[in-house]
Subunit: 337 residues, 2 copies
C-alpha cells in the first residue's frame, strides 16, 4: 500500500552553539520505504518535544549519542500502524516509540509498544504516562524520597515533569513550593493542582527572600529542572540531609559562555545533602511499576495534567524552540494533522 506514500522528515541541519533557531532544522521529502519482514509502518499522530533533546543537538559525550547531521531528529512519538509485516501488530493499532520526526516511520516491531487509547488519551502516553510522568515519578520518589511534612521545592513547576512532581509530593503529604515564570502558571499550580506556595521568578524581585518566606522550615527536597540562578538560591535553604534529584538544567542548555555561579560543595557538606543526576533510562526495569502507579492516580482523579498542543508537522521545530521560552504549560506536543 505504501508505495504511494510520500514521507516528510525533519533533520538536524546544523549544530547550534547557543540558542537553536529554525535554521538548525531542515525539512526533507522522501518516499516511505518498503517494510521488511518483521517491520511495521507507523503513521505519526503526536510528536513529543522535550528540553533534553537540546543536549543531543551538541556533538558531545552524554548519556545518549548526539543526533547525526542530516538525519531525522528522534524523539517520543505516538502513532498508528498503517502496514504490518509483524504478527505482533495489526493495522490500526496505536503504538509508542522513540521514532524519527517523520510522517511515517518504518521500524522493527520491537521498537514500538502498544498503547491503550481506552485507558487514557493517546497524548498522555507522551506525558503523564510516558517519559515526563515517569521521570517525575522515579526522580522524586527514588532520589527525593519526600516524607510527610517535609518541604519540597520544584523548579520548572509548570512544565510537564514539574507538575507531576508537585502533585506526587502532595500525595506523599509534603508541603510543595513551585517556581514558574508566569502568573498564569503560578495561579494554575496553586488553584488547580493544590501547590502550597508558588513563586513567579520573573516578577518576584528578590527570589531568595521569596523562597525564604515560602519555605519557613527550609527545603528538604529540591527537584531541579532548571539549574542556574534559581537553583543557586534554593541551595541556600537546604536542610540537613536534603535530597536533590537533578532532572534538568534548561537555563544552561543554550549557554555558550559557560555556566558560572556559586560553587555548591560547601553548602552540600554543611547540610550533608545528596544531589544526583538521573535519566529515565536508569529506571528501565521499573517502567511498569511507574505506569501502574501513575495510571492508578490518574484513574482516581488524584493526578491532573496539562498539555500545550501545537498542530501541524511543519510546526515541530517551533514547538521545540518555545520550550526554551517557557511558552508551554505542562507537556508540549505536536499533533500531526
Amino acid at each position: 500500500m505504501n508505495q504511494a506514500l510520500n514521507n516528510r522528515m525533519i533533520v538536524l541541519a546544523a549544530r547550534p552553539e547557543s540558542m537553536p533557531t529554525e535554521q538548525h532544522f531542515a525539512m526533507k521529502d522522501a518516499a516511505v520505504e518498503q517494510p521488511a519482514e518483521g517491520q511495521v509502518v507507523v503513521r505519526s499522530l503526536y510528536l513529543s518535544v522535550d528540553p533534553y533533546m537540546r543536549g543531543r543537538m551538541n556533538d558531545s559525550k552524554s548519556y545518549i549519542p548526539p543526533f547525526a547531521l542530516g538525519e531525522a531528529i528522534v524523539g517520543g512519538v505516538v502513532g498508528e500502524i498503517v502496514e504490518s509485516k509483524s504478527e505482533q501488530f495489526a493495522v490500526g493499532d496505536k503504538v509508542l516509540g522513540m521514532l524519527g520526526w517523520k510522517l511515517y516511520n518504518v521500524v522493527d516491531a520491537a521498537s514500538v509498544r502498544k498503547v491503550d487509547d481506552q485507558m487514557a488519551p493517546l497524548s498522555a502516553y507522551l506525558g503523564v504516562l510516558g517519559l515526563t510522568g515517569l521521570t517525575a515519578y522515579f526522580g522524586l520518589l527514588d532520589i527525593g524520597q519526600p516524607k510527610a511534612g517535609e518541604t519540597v521545592v520544584v523548579s520548572g513547576a509548570a512544565g510537564a515533569v514539574g507538575m507531576i512532581v508537585g502533585q506526587i509530593a502532595k500525595l506523599k503529604g509534603a508541603r510543595v513550593v513551585g517556581i514558574a515564570g508566569t502568573d498564569e502558571k503560578t495561579s494554575y499550580l496553586k488553584q488547580e493542582l493544590g501547590f502550597d506556595e508558588t513563586i513567579n521568578y520573573k516578577t518576584v524581585g528578590d527570589l531568595g527572600k521569596a523562597l525564604e518566606a515560602a519555605c519557613p522550615n527550609g527545603v528538604d527536597v529540591y527537584f531541579d529542572n532548571v539549574g542556574g540562578d534559581i537553583s543557586d538560591q534554593v541551595m541556600l535553604l537546604l536542610n540537613t540531609h536534603a535530597r536533590i534529584p537533578l532532572c534538568g538544567a534548561i537555563s544552561s542548555y543554550n549557554s555558550k559562555s559557560g555556566d558560572i555561579g556559586p560553587r555548591i560543595q560547601t553548602q552540600l557538606i554543611k547540610t550533608r545533602s545528596l544531589i544526583k543526576g538521573f535519566v529515565l533510562g536508569d529506571y528501565a526495569d521499573r517502567t511498569e511499576e511507574g505506569i501502574q502507579a501513575l495510571g492508578q492516580w490518574l484513574g482516581e482523579g488524584k493526578l491532573k495534567y496539562e498539555e500545550t498542543i501545537v498542530e501541524g508537522f511543519d510546526k515541530v521545530p517551533q514547538a521545540f524552540l518555545q520550550l526554551f521560552e517557557g511558552k508551554n504549560m505542562g507537556k508540549m506536543l505536536v499533533k500531526i494533522l
Copy 2:
C-alpha cells in the same frame, strides 16, 4: 590533688572573615576546677587540629554549632586520667574525647572513652583509628563504593583523610590517582603508599590535561577534600554513574568574596552522577565496624599512615593555620610536652 594545678586554654578571640591568623586565638590561664562526682580530670597528651574546625569559627548554621567567643576551642584530644571520681576510669588510663584546647579538661566520664596504647600509638586514635581514618573509610566505602578496576581520584591526597582513602581504594582493587601540592607529597604517595598516579597541582601547569593523562578511562569515584578549581577539573572527567563523596572544601573555607566557578549540574545530569556531603557523625552507629576494619588493615601492615607532629601547647594555633598552607603530611597533631 588538682588544687595546685594551673590550667591554660586557647579560646576563640575573634571570628575571622577570611583566612584566620593567630590574632583570632588567645591564651587564657585559670585554675583547674574540682571534678564533681562522676567526673574525671584529663591531662592533654595530643591535640588534633583539623580543617573542619575552620567552619566552627564562623557564626553560621552548619552541622555543628559555632565555637563561642571567649570559650576554649573544642576538638579531638587524647589524654591521661590524672584524677577520677568515676568508677569507669582509673588514674593513668588513656582516653579519647572531643575536649577543649586545654592542658586539663574536667569532664563527665561519659564524654571520653578508653583507648589501648598497646594496640596502637596514642596519636593514631586522633588519625587513622579516629576521625580522619573513619571519615575516609565511611565516605569512600559508603558513598564512593569503588569497584575493582575503577578509577578513584583523591584530592588533598597527602592529608590525613586522603592518604587513607587512597590506600583503601587500592585494597578494593581500584586504580588510584592522588592530587597534592608538593613533590615530596606526591613522591610519598606513589612510592610509599602505592598510588598509581599522582599530580602536583601547583607545578603541573595544565591540571585538566594532566588529569586526562592520569585517568585514561575517566573517573568513577572522586573523593573531594578541597573543592575549588581542582574539583572543577575533575568533574569534567566523570564517567556515567560516578560517585563523589564530598568530604571537604578546604580551598574555599577562607574565601571571603564567595566561591565562584562552573556550575556542575549539567555535568552531573550528563553522567547521572551522585554527589553527597557527609560528616563522620552520619555513621555514628557504625563506628566500631570502622575501627575494627582499619585496625585490622593496620595490624596486617596493609595501611600506612603519616603524622606531622608539632610540639608544645602554645603552638596549637600555628599548627591549625598550617593546615591551610598544606604544610602537613598526613595527620597534623600537637604533642603537649
